[in-house]
């Protein structure tokens, strides 16, 4: 029997206070009317107003979104392929190198990944811009997709696919109609992970972006190097809000889906 003791309650309360208080302060002080960020001078939404009018931030946000959508989509396709290779392809020449290259980006310091890709782009005379950031983000986030999808593939019951093949499906149709729907939740979480990693990345983007493309983290970085600013507090609040709504919605959806599945399983058991 699990029960909540004083010790457990205190450690949870302190732990979550530590995790959430800094963000809460950021949100509260984004509504501060004073330009001196740490001195409260009354409620105001004016920093949101100046933020919305700041075209540099809007442009950077747009670049970031385009990079994130493109790189996470390519990374999901390549990462899912890599996961299929890792779990299913068996032995082939160069397999060790392949799995090494898949897992290495997970633990690689960002400064090294960024530096090496920049030196590559310069070496082959590639003009740096949005396209090079997309290539860089795809490369490091496909590793994360591959890990998420391959852990789902390992528990996958292959007899379902064999049944489809026995019943006359082509290999591709069996993948499309049987395998893909079953691994879909892992593929979607892989995409979301790649998307967030791309939105979040400062270091690799700083190396691989040319002067023509500035992402939101690069823009935020250059303004917070000088210290705390109320506009950045407002921007942070918006970003935290979007993530919170997204994560809470996702967890409610999965909870409802699992409840429905349980109900269906009960109903099916009742019919037998």
């Amino acid at each position: 029997m699990r029960r909540i003791t004083w010790f457990n309650a205190t450690s949870l309360a302190l732990g979550f206070a530590f995790l959430y208080l800094p963000m809460l302060l950021l949100i509260v002080y984004s509504f501060n009317s004073s330009k001196l960020v740490t001195v409260w001078a009354g409620f105001s939404t004016k920093w949101y107003g100046t933020l919305v009018q700041n075209e540099a931030f809007l442009d950077a946000a747009l670049v970031t979104l385009r990079v994130a959508v493109a790189s996470s989509t390519i990374a999901t396709v390549l990462g899912t392929m890599a996961a299929l290779v890792l779990v299913r392809a068996g032995r082939f020449p160069g397999r060790t190198l392949f799995s090494g290259m898949i897992y290495a980006p997970l633990v690689m310091p960002e400064v090294i990944t960024g530096l090496s890709l920049l030196l590559l782009f310069i070496g082959i005379g590639f003009d740096r811009g949005i396209f090079t950031i997309i290539l860089a983000h795809t490369t490091f986030s496909m590793a994360f997709v591959a890990v998420v999808v391959s852990s789902r593939l390992m528990t996958f019951d292959r007899s379902l696919e064999e049944a489809a093949l026995d019943l006359g499906c082509s290999a591709f149709d069996a993948f499309r109609l049987v395998t893909l729907p079953i691994i879909a939740p892992a593929v979607i979480s892989g995409w979301l992970l790649a998307f967030t990693l791309s939105l979040d990345d400062l270091v690799i983007a700083s190396f691989t972006a040319g002067p023509s493309a500035t992402t939101l983290p690069i823009k935020i970085w250059s303004s917070i190097r000088l210290g705390v600013s109320p506009e950045i507090n407002a921007l942070s609040t918006i970003m935290i809000g979007i993530v919170a709504v997204g994560v809470i919605t996702a967890s409610l959806v999965t909870k409802r889906a699992s409840l429905r599945q349980q109900a269906e399983e009960r109903a099916a058991a009742g019919q037998v």
Partner: protein
């Protein structure tokens, strides 16, 4: 044929954008700095044939690596990165274990919510989470205001731009990586083992040391590596919170490249950093493999 395409596409991508770039870093780390575009020498021109290639190889040397050992800055930066990473891993474990323990012992219907609360910061921008501490720790920051108001201090403390701020930043941002593996180890634990120990006369604290801690060992080890490995090369946290007094190798590499424009030395710094990281990475993979075997 289809199998070939499935393997070839991701393989080719990784070769071109992961392995080849490392080859280039290695090559440039053996080159010399030059006032040219690109700013290093020698450059390889394959159109001039074998003789040019031989000259090119002859011009490479380990000078940059010797330079790393002669200048204090670099080995001090490596050592201080390792030390900061190790100490902050220990602090993160001490802070994270009770939280994971509390979560694993919380009522069943609380757990999905607690889990979500741990994961939520993970999806929030890393940069913003580090930034949020700048307002707290600065001289006029919220923490100093609070301490002054409570009368605990008479002068504001200098925390921002010191190593202390770096430790706080690392513990804060990497805490979920510590909590999650420990939580998943504790959650699988069989509670009747503790009851048995108590029936047999163990005190609760002894039972915790003899049963709970060993059974969550894999989670502890995984969590420690997940904090330790990325912290060594960390750039954002020391740059925003550490000021000029904190020396970490990720920051040195960045400055060598962007401020000094010394690409060969930056590349050599990267190569040595990678060599240092190989040891904990191999140990981490061994631990993962072992825990998969014991579970399977």
């Amino acid at each position: 044929m289809r199998r070939f395409a499935l393997i070839a596409l991701p393989y080719a991508w990784l070769l071109a954008l992961f392995l080849v770039p490392f080859g280039i870093v290695l090559k440039i780390s053996l080159s010399d700095i030059a006032l040219a575009i690109p700013p290093y020498t020698p450059t390889l021109d394959l159109s001039e044939g074998w003789a040019a290639f031989r000259d090119f190889l002859a011009a490479l040397d380990f000078e940059n690596f010797t330079f790393l050992t002669t200048d204090d800055l670099y080995w001090k930066a490596y050592l201080s990165s390792l030390q900061i990473a190790a100490l902050s891993t220990v602090i993160t474990l001490i802070v994270g274990y009770p939280i994971a323990y509390g979560m694993a012992n919380a009522p069943d219907h609380w757990r999905p919510t607690l889990m979500m609360l741990v994961i939520l910061p993970f999806w929030t921008s890393f940069l913003i989470r580090v930034y949020s501490w700048m307002g707290i720790l600065s001289t006029e920051g919220y923490l100093n205001q609070l301490l002054l108001w409570m009368g605990l201090i008479s002068e504001p403390l200098d925390i921002l731009n010191t190593p202390t701020a770096v430790y706080i930043g690392i513990v804060y941002t990497y805490l979920p990586f510590m909590i999650l593996p420990i939580y998943s180890a504790l959650e699988r634990m069989d509670g009747s083992l503790l009851e048995a120990a108590e029936d047999l006369g163990c005190s609760r604290l002894t039972a915790f040391w003899l049963i709970t801690v060993p059974l969550s060992r894999n989670g502890i080890v995984a969590g420690c590596f997940l904090v330790f490995i990325p912290t060594i090369g960390e750039f954002v946290i020391p740059s925003l919170l550490g000021g000029s007094r904190t020396l970490m190798i990720g920051k040195v590499l960045w400055e060598e490249f962007f401020n000094n424009r010394d690409w060969p030395v930056a590349s050599a710094v990267a190569v040595v950093l990678l060599l240092i990281l190989i040891i904990p990475i191999i140990l981490f993979q061994r631990n993962e493999q072992k825990s998969r075997e014991t579970e399977g």
